[in-house]
Structure formats: structure tokens, C-alpha cells
């Protein structure tokens, strides 16, 4: 059964230095408040996992939480580059950042294998690209039935996966809808999971096409209204496109970023929109 708890307690309890941590969300339902709480609690040496690391990962990398990033596309969507990510890769600031780089299809299949309890997944991808030459976790494999050469990628099983969702009930059953990304796969692949939600309700009303993560498949649930900002939660909030644009000059400069971090994360109460 999922524990209903506060964000600060959940992060203190579930996220440890050195852990492999996935904060998923494909443009929609990104657990930004949880990422900033990880910064606030000064976690170190994390291996961060995410298909599309964007602003919150830029913030976590710039704050020195990560030693490694496993990803398939790192950018500020519709705006440009992640400058803290670039600075860490190119100049090791504030600490060196190792990278393990995949394609979206590769990452999605790594989560599927993780959620399925299998050691690896197979796909017809990566062929002819330079990715297998720089990423150890892509290997050719021969189909035992047809002889076709395919690519194998190992399962991703994070120590903890964190996602945001629209709502949960008081027992900790979670419901989410809209662009569901790899939210379900990330939670089911992980050893421990935290779901931040817009609200906790007495009863979950069924939503066509919606996903329910049963209470017994989730470790902890925390109510964090607006916890996906500047991303969005369909039915609750709109994407704050201006924030994504405003991030570019802040992230571009080490001093400006450090000031932002002091004022908007370390000094800010939990759950307050930076």
C-alpha cells in the first residue's frame, strides 16, 4: 500500500545519495517540485535517468546532484540548449557529468524491459548510427528464429522513479491521463516510487483512456498542487511556455544560475513555484 506523505518526507525517505533516480514525464506531468526538493535536500552522486531531461534536470545538474545522466534527448523544448547540462559535459562544472546516451525508442524499451522483469529488450534500431560506438548499453543480438540481426538494450530498473499525476485517492491509488509518456513503465520498473499529485480525492472517477497505478504498486504519494510547473497537468494547468523561454538566460550564466538557486530553491518553502 502506498504511504500518503509530504514531499519533503518522501524525498528524505526514498532518495539516497548514489541512487539511480528517474523523474519521468514527456512534456506533460513532469515532477518538477520533487526535483527541486532533491536539490534542497542536497542529494549527491545521483545517476539521473530520463528520456527528455529538460529544465528541472538542468537545475539538478547545475546544483551538483548528478554524476551521471542516462537519456535520449536533452534540451529546452522549443527554446534551445540546456546550458547547465552543456557546462557539466563540456567543462565539468560544478562536477563532472558522465553520460549514457540512447534514442527514445531505446530508452522506452529499456523501461519496458524493466517493468516486465526481463533483463533486456530488443528493437530494430540504432543500425548504421554512431550511438552503439559510444554507448556500451547497446549490443547486437541475433534473432534465434529468423537470424535477423537486431539491437538489445538492458533493462532500466531505477532505485526510485518519481512521476507527477492528476490525482490519487486516500488509499494511494493513482490516476493520470493525457500524454501518459513512460510514466507507468518508469514506476513499474523501479524498486521504489513516489507519485506527486495535483489533489487527493475520496474516490477516483474513471477517465476514458486514463491510467491507474494501484496503491500496492506505488511506494508513496504526496499531494503537491502545481508540482509539475512549468510543465502541465491536463485538466488542471496549462504549460507555462514563458518560463521555458525565461530559463535560457538564467541557465546560461553560472553566477546567475547560482543566485537563482539560492533565492528560488534553497530559500524557498517546499511547493512554492520558483
Amino acid at each position: 500500500m502506498a504511504r500518503i506523505t509530504s514531499l519533503a518526507e518522501a524525498v528524505a525517505d526514498l532518495v539516497h545519495d548514489g541512487d539511480t533516480v528517474a523523474l519521468e514525464g514527456f512534456t506533460h506531468l513532469i515532477p518538477v517540485a520533487a526535483g527541486q526538493e532533491i536539490i534542497r535536500q542536497r542529494r549527491r552522486d545521483l545517476t539521473l535517468v530520463r528520456m527528455t531531461p529538460d529544465i528541472v534536470y538542468d537545475q539538478m545538474i547545475g546544483a551538483g546532484c548528478a554524476r551521471k545522466l542516462i537519456f535520449s534527448w536533452g534540451g529546452n523544448p522549443g527554446v534551445g540548449s540546456l546550458h547547465r547540462f552543456r557546462d557539466a559535459v563540456q567543462n565539468s562544472w560544478p562536477v563532472p557529468l558522465a553520460i549514457e546516451e540512447h534514442s527514445h525508442a531505446g530508452m522506452a524499451n529499456r523501461y519496458v524491459a524493466g517493468a516486465s522483469g526481463l533483463p533486456f529488450a530488443v528493437l530494430r534500431g540504432y543500425v548504421g548510427t554512431d550511438l552503439p560506438t559510444v554507448t556500451d548499453t547497446v549490443k547486437p543480438i541475433t534473432c534465434p528464429f529468423t537470424g535477423e540481426e537486431l539491437m538489445a538494450v538492458p533493462a532500466l530498473n531505477p532505485d526510485v522513479s518519481i512521476v507527477h499525476a492528476q490525482r490519487a485517492d486516500r488509499k494511494g491509488n493513482v490516476q493520470l491521463w493525457g500524454l501518459v509518456g513512460v510514466q507507468k513503465e518508469a514506476v513499474l520498473a523501479a524498486r521504489r516510487s513516489l507519485v506527486t499529485v495535483e489533489e487527493i480525492v475520496d474516490e477516483l472517477t474513471p477517465v476514458p483512456g486514463g491510467v491507474v497505478l494501484p496503491s500496492w504498486a506505488v511506494t508513496a504519494v504526496a499531494a503537491v498542487p502545481g508540482g509539475a510547473h512549468p510543465s502541465y497537468a491536463q485538466g488542471y494547468s496549462e504549460r507555462d511556455n514563458a518560463y521555458y523561454a525565461a530559463w535560457d538566460p538564467i541557465g546560461r550564466d553560472r553566477e546567475g544560475f547560482t543566485r537563482w538557486l539560492d533565492e528560488h530553491v534553497y530559500a524557498a518553502p517546499i511547493g512554492v513555484r520558483p
Binding site: F26, G75, G78, H104, V127, G128, G178
Partner: protein, 241 residues
């Protein structure tokens, strides 16, 4: 001109895998002009999106709200893209070479110590591998059109002469490259040949913006100028976005 030329390349009823930015603008222009039955698939998990404005990102809520179905990301790649259910993939590029190989990973230096770290692969390698054909839209300059890309993120025609087929890739790969200067298509070896220039652009200008000895088709044409209708629809789409 680049957006209009890209939109015109899409046929009515085609299934199109769309990237954000120029590809998305072009695909939506096509859908609202000559190709009302164009099916748009976005990698965020929307099948048959019909947005009434240009989405700000591949995960814009308007794509989910106007889609025939919203599915998970593993499903997009495994059930819809990989088996070859998509006719056209639409890609951008930071660097593209003479055989239409695409780089969106690193520029300069080596992989571990690049001069410029780019966002990376995203869905592009599998889009390039599995779609029936691929259209590339990219601004042309000496820096973006290079003899050989620094990193092959997505395979075009490899080093030419049938390399794609030898590797077992199922789609035809890049069949059309549209820039702000003109239009290129590969010849039978896979090398990009200039087939058309946009109105007011000279062949010398295109050559000067290309990092290899660009071949020009004997029957080079000039892209027809955008019609008043196309321009009005494009302005209207942008105004609503």
C-alpha cells in the same frame, strides 16, 4: 518558402511522423491546405492530431485534445513506427552531409569532449530507419551542410551505393531535403543533388552554402513561389499560435 515547399511535399491521406518546429509548421500547413486527410503522429503519443494552432512543443496539450487516440511512448515507437506503418518522417538537423546522414549529437572535438553538445537523438534514428521515406528540413550554410557529419545520429544513405539496404533498414531513407535556398534529392548512389532553387536564389549561392562539391541536376527547376492562399493560411496559423 522553406515551410511552404515542405508542406507541398506531403500528400493527402499520408501518415506522417512529425517533429517540432519547421516540420510541424509544414505538416499543419499541408493539413489545412491541400492535404486535409494527412494523419499526424507525434512522438509524445498522439495519433491523428488536428491542432487548430501550431503546437509549442511535441507535448503541447492541443495535440492530445485533438487526437484520434493518445498512447504511451513505448507504443508509438514499437507498434506504430517500427513495423513501418508511417509513410513519411519529417526531421530537422544540426548537420547533414552529402549522403543525407544527420547529426544532432555533438559538433567538433571528440564525443567525450565536444565543442558543442547538442540535444541528442530523440526519436530521430528510428524515424530515419523505419518510415517509408524521410523529408529533411534544414537551413543551409557551410556549417550545417558538411562533407561528412561529425556524428551519425540518424542514418541517411551511409557512404552511399546501397549501404542502407545492406544494413537491412526497411525504409527508403531521406528522399527529399528542403532548405531555405532550394530542394535536393539523392541520386541512385544516395548523394544529394540540387534539383530546384527557390525564387531569386542562384546556384552559386547554394554552392557557397554547401561544404562539398554540390552536383546540380541537368533539369534544374525553380520552386513555384508561394501562393497568396498558402501565405495567408501560414500567417493565420502563426497568428493563432
Amino acid at each position: 518558402m522553406m515551410t511552404v515547399a515542405a508542406a507541398r511535399a506531403l500528400g493527402d491521406g499520408q501518415i506522417c511522423f512529425v517533429g517540432i518546429g519547421l516540420p510541424s509548421t509544414a505538416a499543419n500547413l499541408a493539413r489545412t491546405t491541400h492535404a486535409p486527410n494527412l494523419v499526424l503522429i507525434y512522438e509524445s503519443g498522439t495519433l491523428g492530431s488536428k491542432p487548430d494552432r501550431l503546437p509549442a512543443s511535441i507535448g503541447d496539450g492541443v495535440l492530445a485534445e485533438t487526437a484520434d487516440a493518445v498512447i504511451s511512448v513505448p507504443e508509438v515507437f514499437n507498434y506504430w513506427l517500427q513495423p513501418g506503418r508511417v509513410d513519411v518522417g519529417f526531421l530537422g538537423a544540426a548537420q547533414i552531409d552529402k549522403y543525407a546522414n544527420i547529426n544532432t549529437t555533438v559538433i567538433g572535438g571528440d564525443y567525450a569532449h565536444p565543442q558543442v553538445r547538442l540535444p541528442g537523438a530523440g526519436g530521430a534514428p528510428e524515424i530515419a530507419a523505419s518510415c517509408g521515406e524521410v523529408f529533411v528540413v534544414v537551413r543551409q550554410s557551410h556549417r550545417s551542410f558538411v562533407d561528412r557529419v561529425d556524428f551519425v545520429t540518424s542514418l541517411g544513405h551511409g557512404r552511399g551505393d546501397g549501404e542502407r539496404a545492406r544494413l537491412g533498414l526497411r525504409g527508403a531513407g531521406p528522399t527529399l531535403v528542403i532548405t531555405d535556398l532550394g530542394v535536393m534529392r539523392p541520386d541512385e548512389t544516395g548523394e544529394l543533388i540540387l534539383r530546384a532553387v527557390h525564387p531569386g536564389v542562384t546556384v552559386d549561392e547554394v554552392r557557397a552554402a554547401t561544404g562539398w562539391e554540390l552536383k546540380v541536376a541537368a533539369d534544374l527547376t525553380v520552386t513555384p513561389a508561394p501562393t497568396a492562399g498558402e501565405l495567408a493560411t501560414l500567417r493565420d496559423l502563426k497568428a493563432r499560435s
